[in-house]
Amino acid sequence: MEEKASNIAISVKNVSMHFNMCSEKLNSLKEYFIKFIKRQLFFSRFIALENINLNIKKGEVFGIVGLNGSGKSTLLKVICGVLKPTIGKVKISGRISPLIELGAGFNMDLTARENIFLNGAVLGYSKKFMNEKFNEIVEFSELREFLDVPMKNYSSGMVARVAFAVATIVKPDILIVDEILSVGDFKFQEKCNKRIKELMQGDTTVIIVSHHMEEIKKVCNSVLWLDHGHLKMIGETEKVCNAYKNFS
């Protein structure tokens, strides 16, 4: 059944992701030549995702579950454009804000102030925009007195606070959350959850990966179950979650 294209925020078509896995890490020219001459160049192909098809509607809260190594993070990376799929196509409508790994792009030698601007630029925000939002970010992370300290002197929870604050300053069209809320103290986790809920209330499309079934059940409209890179089941939250629970 064809759905109206304008309703779809993310469409993933026939996506497969293969990784070349060398038995040993082969990244020097010398080794490469030696192996090449000895005809020992073996690449084994690892299939991380195979023929995934899915459409996510605008405003939907979509969960992904699966065992470790089943390809959840890989699928998210394909969706947000970090990885290019070996086969297939991904179509996105709107601005994505990835919360895949907090603090990507922080340089620990720089101060938090400098990192906030750097991280904003990594996400493609203009300097003017960052100037406007700077105070809001600092308020949210509650680390005003540490602003001019190099981030290598921060605790990992403090780094996560700053990163989360930067990543959620704008209301994105699509928010991608990959089990990031495990760091940070309980108070900050609550704050983050509240922020995510706010974002979910509007017409923001959200994709959540989590191993907490309770959380998935609470927030998701529909769920995808990945198993060894295959789409095992997709559909109503309750149904998929129960099947996944009984299986594992």
């Binding site: 020219l29 990885l83 990507a104 630029a121 493609g124």
Partner: protein, 267 residues
Amino acid sequence: MKKYIENFIKYFPLLFLLTSKDFKLKYRRSVLGVFWSTLNPLLIMIVVTSVFSVILKFSLEKIRMPFAVFYITGSLIFNFFSEASSSSMTAITANASLIQKVYVPKYIFILEKCAFSLINLMFSTIAVLVVVFYYVLKGQVVLHATIFLIFIPIFFTFLFSIGVGLILSTLTVFFRDIVHLWGVILTMWVYLTPIVYPIEVLKFSSLDWVIKLNPIYYFVTDLRKVMILGEIITLKSLIIESFSCFIVLILGILLFKKAQDKFILHI
């Protein structure tokens, strides 16, 4: 094409911030940092000059300028190329953690390294000007209006470095040991560029035409022409320079574009 330009504009602040990050990290801990980076070429120049002006005694009048000026102008260009290409080549691997997590146009990292080298070149230019003015006062160099044309050879070197940087950074992702190889190549390259000797020395040697295949030879020669000798750049060398930059840039862009989606699997 429009898509690429829009994307570039969107990520321009990133380019700017990465460059200023490099700048801050390099100069933060020493107030004298900027001062050192101008003093350093001066010190090397003094050593090189005192040795080579003795060795090259008989061909010194060929260069038509004091040896110190000859050397420091040549090394300005080559040091820039050497720094820009070496730092670009590790730009992708050094930013692995970022590339694995967020989408950013990857060529930004190469542009950033070349831009940062360009800033360092500006500081080194101060040292060059100090030397030039010293000899102007001594009456051995005459200032010409063509000195304002120095941006032309510098710009060509910049483009050339970006092209080489794109090629090298791509190769480095797949073969890490290229980094060592490049160090060796740069050492050979600097000897094949008339920086401490005038090309006339090699007039009857077969090396003469090898050097004329070296694009940096033209950048260096033209810099000296406009900066010191008051000559303008000939059409012939303009064509050679644009052509070599064009070739290297196109090669770099094609290679980089073809390989960039695979970077993430290898870093």
